[in-house]
């Protein structure tokens, strides 16, 4: 036992380094302009992701890598003495694919059932990918007046699929991945 204990001061930093190596690659991606509002019938949320479209990401997209952003929106009713009740759990995906033949970007948004949107410029594509407008969270009549509610949301880059089964070999390719923290907004209906 003692030889291990002796080596512990050497081993532990190594392991910790490896553990937190993942964090080193994380970029500085934030959610911005999170607005919770309502129409007459529904609870709506607007949000924007900032800092996701790095140069590496752009290069990857221009190389034809299909990239998917995932957005998670959870609605909880906060209860003081018990766990919060999860009322709604939404997962939204934005997928972008560049067609190098036609030199256009095809964007698919899961919460818009329409056909894929084609844009010509990367700026437009970025805008489409990073924004969520008027997403219906829950119909208003599911909410009780006077209760405290909390919306938690975060954005994440889904795993990127590499060609030619390279993902069997390249474990370290996660340089474009990002994951934001959970952003919470409390409100009282």
């Amino acid at each position: 036992m003692t030889p291990f204990l002796k080596r512990a001061p050497v081993l532990i930093p190594l392991v910790l380094l490896v553990l937190f190596a993942g964090q080193v690659y994380a970029q500085d991606v934030r959610l911005k302009n999170i607005i919770v509002t309502n129409t007459r019938d529904d609870l709506l949320i607007y949000l924007t992701v900032e800092g996701a479209f790095t140069e590496d990401m752009q290069t990857a997209i221009l190389s034809g890598v299909a990239t998917t952003f995932s957005f998670y929106v959870n609605l909880h009713r906060t209860r003081s003495l018990w766990l919060d009740k999860k009322m709604v759990s939404l997962k939204i995906t934005h997928t972008i694919k560049y067609d190098n033949l036609k030199n256009e970007f095809i964007i698919q948004r899961s919460w818009e059932d329409s056909k894929p949107i084609t844009v010509q410029s990367i700026e437009e594509a970025e805008k489409m990918m990073t924004e969520i407008d008027s997403l219906k969270v829950i119909p208003l009549d599911h909410l009780e007046k006077g209760n405290r509610y909390q919306i938690r949301t975060k954005a994440q880059l889904s795993k990127v699929r590499l060609p030619l089964y390279l993902h069997y070999i390249l474990f370290f390719v996660s340089m474009w991945d990002f994951e934001t923290d959970w952003y919470t907004i409390d409100f009282i209906y």
């Binding site: 190389s63 034809g64 010509q120 474990f171």
Partner: protein, 743 residues
């Protein structure tokens, strides 16, 4: 040595317990490490979403095994390194050799590994560069450009026609609802004339007004462009192209405004020209697109691939290096452990512990060295035991010899004869106690002195003769009687000289054994005289009685008858002289059978005073002096006999002094020797040395008259009292008779 089985078992079970505990600890640590590593890997490695679970698990397992192995190796190597450094600091035997071996191994493996490593990396880099070289990229890009050109050309064509068509429609105002039929007709004409696969016209409300298709597409559904697409901004050429996939191929739809090139707000209608790109062409183009895409993605991943290769190479290289290092340690251990054992063994042997043996090792030279060492110690042990044995025997012999020597010394010391040994050169080597006593010598005065320096005069001559005759091997033994005067007293010795000869006959020395025969001779003479006296007395006595009786008878018978004075005188003379003879005979007889002393405690001084008193009056010309200390102890003495002895001595003293002189009688108390000395000193004519030796013999007298028995009687009396009598010269003249009596 072997332990008893019971102890062995307990030792084993303790070892087992320890081992099991260690194993459990190791397993626990490994599990913890695996969990930790997996967690760490999860954070770092992202597999694709469609990466099968089984493969994921497999990859994780492989990675973990690799990491664990690496960690284990690192740990082992580090431990060994630390131990080596520590040993080096402590100067443990073998540490330097181990260091050398390990360093050699490391160098031996590091060098080729590093070379291979760098070479591989360069090779990989070069290969990767080669694969991604420019011509390939150029070709792909050109293909893509060809593909793009197809779209561009199609769009261009469409735009060309769109321009014409839009102009026509605008000029003829065919977009008006009333001209619907004419529009359809025109559209059909256009389609036929220009062989466009499809021509459509949309109104401002984004609803399709009319369309015309090639015969193949007739009666098949033809999708409508959505309002969204219609309303999209035109690009630089004032057209907008969208594409759709239909089963015949790819449909390129170019939208243009009527009039051509105006904004949406001013557009009266929209014309869409559709061109179908055949399926196979379309497929080829998409495959070109895909290929290029993949190529570009791989290009993106060039760096990561390189990094992966580097990392893999590094891991493998590290594994190799650590394996080599560990192997170096192992080999070093197999060499240094026997060497250390040997070193310790030699140290122990130097200290004297010969029971050390080294366990057998491998078969090689070191093994044979170890075996030789063991054999050497065994031999050393054997010879040491032998040495101890012979030392012991030697000690015992020495003790024996010493004991014998001491015994001989004691014997010599206590033997009554005197023993003097001389070496070959005449130096005295030993002299025993009896010799010292007899000759009145001290050994330290004569030891290691030559006889030539100790003797002189006629003695020296005699000695020389004797020595010569002995040394010249004429005789081996010489016996000679010798009369010497020791301290003024005459002694008679019988000397036996033996020459000591060595093995080769060389003269080694002389041993002299002598006995003091003085007393013996005296006694012999005494006995002889006694016998003579007895005989004479006996023989003479017998006829005396008849003579006396006859004379008496004659006197009785004829004295009155004859009344002759001559007769009476003669018979009287006969009787008197016979009486005289009788007395003499009686004296003889009494000498022969002297009555034994009857000692009773008494004082000595009165006897002497009485004796002196007898003579004092009768000899006024002699000065009598009595000296006595105040305390003379009471002695056991026969008063009568001692008085007789004193009388005899004083008689002699007086006889020695012719005219006047001194007679001094002194009593001396010798406490040290427990003796009382009576010294009768006269200033007479003295006694010569020759006479001194015969003084106490019977019938020896220097007087004209006398039987010479006086001193003999004195001697007998004194001897009966366990004392001794002797004579020596008085200073300046005369003689001193000394009687010593024990207390």
């Amino acid at each position: 040595m072997g332990k008893t089985p019971a102890i062995n078992r307990t030792v084993q079970s303790i070892d087992d317990q320890k081992r099991r505990k260690r194993e459990i600890i190791i397993i626990a640590v490994i599990v913890a490490l695996v969990a930790l590593l997996t967690f760490a890997e999860n954070r770092v490695i992202h597999f694709g979403a469609d990466f099968p679970i089984s493969n994921t698990i497999l990859m994780f397992i492989l990675i973990n095994i690799n990491m664990l192995l690496l960690l284990l190796l690192i740990f082992l190597v580090l431990r060994n390194l630390v131990k080596l450094l520590y040993d080096r600091k402590r100067k443990v035997m073998g540490a330097k050799l181990r260091t050398k071996l390990v360093v050699a191994f490391i160098a031996l493996t590091l060098l080729p590994t590093i070379v291979l490593f760098f070479f591989s990396i360069n090779f990989i880099t070069a290969s990767i560069e080669f694969w991604f070289n420019v011509p390939v990229e150029q070709a792909l890009e050109n293909s893509l450009k060809v593909g793009r050109n197809i779209y561009a050309i199609t769009e261009d064509n469409n735009r060309f026609y769109l321009d014409r068509v839009a102009y026509q429609i605008k000029t003829k105002k065919l977009y008006e609802p009333a001209k619907h039929k004419a529009l359809s007709h025109y559209v059909q004409v256009v389609q036929n004339a220009f062989n466009i696969h499809g021509v459509e016209v949309y109104g401002t409300n984004s609803k399709r007004i009319t369309y015309a298709l090639i015969p193949e597409l007739e009666n098949k559904p033809f999708s409508v462009i959505s309002a969204n697409d219609l309303q999209q901004e035109m690009n630089a050429n004032n057209v907008r192209t969208i594409s759709e996939n239909i089963n015949r191929g790819q449909l390129i739809r170019t939208i243009g405004t009527v009039p051509f090139g105006v904004k949406h707000t001013e557009a009266k209608a929209y014309v869409v020209l559709n061109v179908i790109i055949p399926q196979d062409l379309s497929e080829r183009m998409s495959s070109i697109s895909r290929g290029f895409e993949e190529y570009q993605q791989i290009k993106l991943l060039k760096k990561p691939i390189q990094i992966t290769y580097y990392i893999t190479l590094s891991i493998v290289g590290l594994l190799v290096v650590f394996c080599a290092v560990w192997f170096g340690f192992y080999l070093a251990k197999s060499i240094t452990i026997p060497i250390m054992a040997l070193a310790e063994g030699t140290k122990k042997v130097a200290e004297g512990d010969l029971s050390f043996t080294i366990g057998a090792v491998a078969d090689d030279e070191i093994g044979s060295l170890v075996n030789s060492f063991n054999k050497m110690t065994k031999d050393l042990r054997g010879s040491r035991e032998q040495l101890e044995l012979s030392a012991r025997m030697l000690r015992e012999r020495n003790i024996e010899i010493e004991a014998r020597r001491q015994y001989m010394e004691i014997v010599l010391k206590n033997v009554s004869a005197g023993v003097i040994t001389l070496d070959a050169d005449g130096y005295i080597t030993t002299i025993n106690t009896s010799a010292e006593k007899m000759l009145r010598l001290k050994s330290r005065d004569v030891l290691h002195e030559s006889y030539r320096s100790l003797l002189w005069g006629q003695h020296l001559n005699m000695a020389r003769e004797v020595m010569d005759s002995l040394m010249n091997a004429e005789e081996n033994a010489v016996e000679l009687p010798l009369k010497l005067s020791i301290n003024g007293r005459p002694r008679s010795f019988l000397i036996n000289l033996n020459s000591l000869k060595g093995n080769a006959g060389e003269h080694m020395g002389i041993v002299m054994v002598f006995d003091d025969l003085t007393e013996l001779e005296k006694a012999q003479r005494m006995a002889a005289w006694r016998e003579v006296a007895r005989r004479i007395a006996h023989e003479v006595k017998n006829p005396l009685t008849p003579i006396t009786l006859s004379a008496q008878r004659l006197s009785r018978k004829y004295s009155q008858e004859l009344n002759e004075p001559v007769f009476d005188e003669c018979t009287r003379t006969i009787i008197d002289h016979v009486d005289l003879i009788q007395n003499i005979v009686n004296e003889f007889s009494s000498f022969a059978r002297f009555p034994t002393a009857d000692p009773k405690p008494g004082e000595l001084l009165p006897i002497i005073e009485e004796t002196v008193a007898l003579y004092r009056e009768g000899h006024p010309n002699i000065n009598f002096n009595i000296q006595a200390p105040p305390s003379i102890p009471i002695l056991n003495l026969d008063r009568q006999q001692l008085k007789q002895a004193m009388i005899n001595l004083v008689d002699n003293a007086i006889a020695a002094i012719k005219m006047d002189g001194d007679i001094a009688i002194s009593l001396v108390l010798d406490n040290a020797a427990d003796k009382v000395r009576i010294e009768v000193a006269d200033s007479g004519h003295g006694i010569s040395d020759e006479v001194k030796t015969r003084l106490f013999e019977p019938n020896f007298s220097t007087k004209k008259t006398g039987m010479g028995l006086g001193l003999t009687i004195v001697s007998t009396i004194v001897n009966d009292h366990n004392g001794s009598v002797r004579v020596r010269d008085n200073d300046p003249r005369g003689a001193i008779f000394i009687i010593e009596l024990p207390i």
